[in-house]
């Protein structure tokens, strides 16, 4: 299972490279550059040095004692990706791709962003490495995440609003792909999740797998055994795959990926691809998609912009069909309750994306024995969401 994808970028039937011919040579070049870097000790040493001194890795694995007592079941550990520089796991990937951009001698980077966390992480490494940076963001998301738009601009990036379609992440990715198609000779596209055409899902997973590698070491040190459950939210699925990947061969470790159920699966206003979708092709990859009978992509809904997307990473589709990972979902309401709960019980305000994973833990932990162990990935901090949540609660700031 851990040797995937195959040389065609396939995870079983999923993945691949469904892109215009114009991009094919660039994807092949990127794959070659990445595979060379992956095997190069100097590249890895350079990446590790930046992760340690700039990003702040390793991030702690924190035993959430009060939350554990409150839920009255399994022991709950939080993997503190929220403590990474820029406030989320996204920078693990952008640091890797930023270094790769330098190696490929490209001067310009572009990216899409939904919640703005990936955009901020790209703008950050662009500033660090002196690269020109343009971020595409749906205008709907720009409103929801105004603070992150300002952060990206402070970091020197151009933020370009996308008015097409639903004006969210999906449309931002389409626009970034169009830019890349036009400027492919000079520009690297720093995709933000384990989505898109090969080699992106593999490369981004590898950069995020640092989360799981650290977690494994840390939980063995704390509990002298592996966890019973790993829990993470799944938008595109990069923080979850990063946590899960180094544990895949450990058959006793159960894994739960939590999608956004929005206003409820039955409402049709959600982003739960495994509950409501079927395989198809979007943005370069074959994977589970929310689509209608004619193959048109459905509009999605989630309170969290980072989970509000119609497709899921192809590797997740593979683990879903192989029954290696169980995919559940949490509604907006459950996520908001979890957001409050973690804030008041532990003094940690989670990102709304991560709050979906906490919501699953709220359901799961009480059903388990006290000696059992859950590790949940706290993929980002909630500072960016505070204004949005205040609006939802009708509080004027």
């Amino acid at each position: 299972m851990t040797t995937l994808p195959d040389k065609h970028g396939r995870f079983g039937p999923f993945g691949g490279r469904y892109v215009p011919e114009t991009l094919m040579p660039a994807l092949i070049e990127l794959e070659q550059a990445y595979l060379k870097a992956r095997g190069d000790r100097r590249f890895q040493a350079e990446l590790n040095a930046y992760l340690a001194r700039y990003v702040g890795r390793p991030t702690p694995l924190y035993f959430a004692e009060r939350l554990t007592r409150r839920l009255g079941g399994a022991k709950i550990y939080l993997k503190r990706e929220d403590l990474c520089h820029t406030g989320a796991h996204k920078i693990n990937n952008t640091m890797g791709q930023g270094l790769l951009t330098r190696r490929m001698k490209k001067q310009r980077v572009i990216a899409e962003t939904g919640a703005g966390q990936h955009g901020v992480a790209v703008a950050t490494v662009a500033a660090l490495f002196g690269l020109t940076c343009e971020i595409y963001m749906g205008t709907e998301d720009m409103q929801r995440q105004a603070l992150n738009v300002f952060r990206m601009r402070l970091l020197g990036a151009t933020v370009t609003g996308v008015e097409a379609g639903s004006r969210t992440l999906k449309d931002a990715i389409s626009e970034a792909m169009r830019d890349w198609t036009t400027n492919v000779r000079t520009t690297h596209y720093i995709l933000g999740s384990v989505l898109g055409a090969h080699p992106y899902p593999m490369m981004i997973r590898d950069f995020q797998a640092v989360i799981g590698r650290e977690t494994r070491r840390q939980i063995l040190a704390a509990e002298s055994r592996l966890p019973d459950y790993l829990v993470a939210c799944v938008g595109g699925g990069s923080n979850s795959i990063g946590l899960f990947y180094p544990f895949l061969a450990d058959r006793k470790v159960k894994m739960i990926g939590v999608e956004a159920a929005g206003l409820g699966i039955e409402s049709g206003k959600h982003a739960a691809r495994f509950a409501g979708g079927r395989p198809g092709v979007l943005h370069g990859t074959m994977t589970y998609l929310l689509q209608d009978d004619d193959g048109q992509i459905n509009l999605t809904h989630s309170v969290s912009a980072g989970l509000d997307y119609a497709a899921v990473g192809p590797e997740h589709s593979y683990y879903h069909e192989a029954n290696r990972v169980q995919y559940t979902s949490a509604t907006d309401e459950e996520a908001l309750a979890a957001f409050d709960l973690l804030s008041s019980e532990e003094g940690i305000i989670p990102a709304l994306e991560s709050a979906h994973a906490i919501a699953e833990v709220v359901k799961l932990a009480p059903r388990l024995a006290k000696r059992q162990v859950i590790v949940v990935n706290l993929s980002g901090r909630g500072d960016k969401d505070v204004q949005h949540v205040a609006r939802i609660k009708g509080v004027s700031l």
Partner: protein, 279 residues
């Protein structure tokens, strides 16, 4: 390898052969099917044939068209709003086939075909009278299922090459393409501006070294002058966004087909004045 020996001559192949004998180049006109409605599409196809189009490309609208610029994106939105689907486009093609034998090629993003099913799509498309299909987000590497489904009875699978394609890819893509080969004239999306015709000439010459399949050039051909310049180089000239823009501008005009027909006639006339050496 795919066995095509017993297949009757396809309308696309017949058209390129007929034109070659006359030392003419093919004008390939692109329309978004269902923009502004499928009824108008029917009228437009017939009018464009009268105006001199040799082959019609019918775009299948998709919600997320990554290879298209704003003009065709907006046309796709209009087509989807008018209730257009691949199934309904195939019915329109069936209806057209009682009135015209012009070659019809679908340009469809892969997911719209996958949703119908590769085999069902090929069967229904051929039965309706579709001659070829172009899938802009499906390179040959991912074409297996559709290629197998299309091998026996069609439609012909037309692949694309781009300025960024490497020599190895040129050979591979050219070998797989049927009917004609679509050369994307610029590094970009549909509707961008064609600036470097010299570069197109060089790349088309390189493609001709590896294949005898006709080469048609598209993306960025917007004016009669562009069409004339490209006609000197290639076997076919594909005009998309410029036609779609006309349709967008005249969508509420009862004389829509005539307006667009006039534009297409000007393209064809410009190409006629070119008497280019055949390869």
């Amino acid at each position: 390898m795919i066995n095509r020996s017993n297949r009757p001559v396809n309308r696309i192949e017949a058209t390129f052969e007929r034109l070659k004998a006359k030392r003419e180049k093919a004008l390939i006109a692109y329309l978004m099917a269902g923009d502004p409605s499928l009824q108008e599409t029917e009228a437009l196809v017939l009018e464009l044939e009268r105006a001199g189009a040799d082959l019609i490309e019918l775009g299948v609208p998709f919600s997320d068209p990554i290879a298209d610029g704003p003009v065709i994106q907006k046309a796709a939105e209009r087509a989807l709003r008018s209730g257009t689907s691949l199934r309904r486009i195939l019915s329109t093609v069936s209806a057209l086939r009682t009135r015209t034998q012009i070659p019809l090629v679908l340009m469809a993003y892969y997911n719209t075909i996958h949703a119908l099913g590769e085999e069902a799509f090929c069967r229904q498309a051929v039965a309706a009278g579709v001659d070829g299909v172009i899938v802009p987000d499906m390179p040959p590497e991912e074409a297996g299922p559709l290629e197998i489904a299309a091998a026996e009875a069609g439609p012909l699978l037309i692949f694309l090459l781009a300025p960024t394609s490497t020599p190895a890819r040129r050979a591979m893509v050219a070998r797989r393409s049927r009917g004609f080969l679509y050369y994307v004239s610029l590094t970009g999306i549909t509707g961008a501006k064609l600036t470097d015709v010299g570069d197109v000439r060089k790349n088309v010459a390189k493609i001709r070294q590896v294949t005898n399949v006709p080469v048609a050039v598209g993306f960025g051909v917007a004016t009669a002058e562009d069409a004339a310049r490209v006609a000197r180089i290639a076997d076919g000239v594909i005009v998309g966004s410029a036609i779609v823009r006309q349709i967008g501008e005249h969508q509420h005009d009862p004389r829509l087909p005539e307006h667009v027909g006039q534009f297409v006639r000007s393209l064809k006339n410009a190409m006629h004045s070119v008497s280019a050496p055949t390869s």
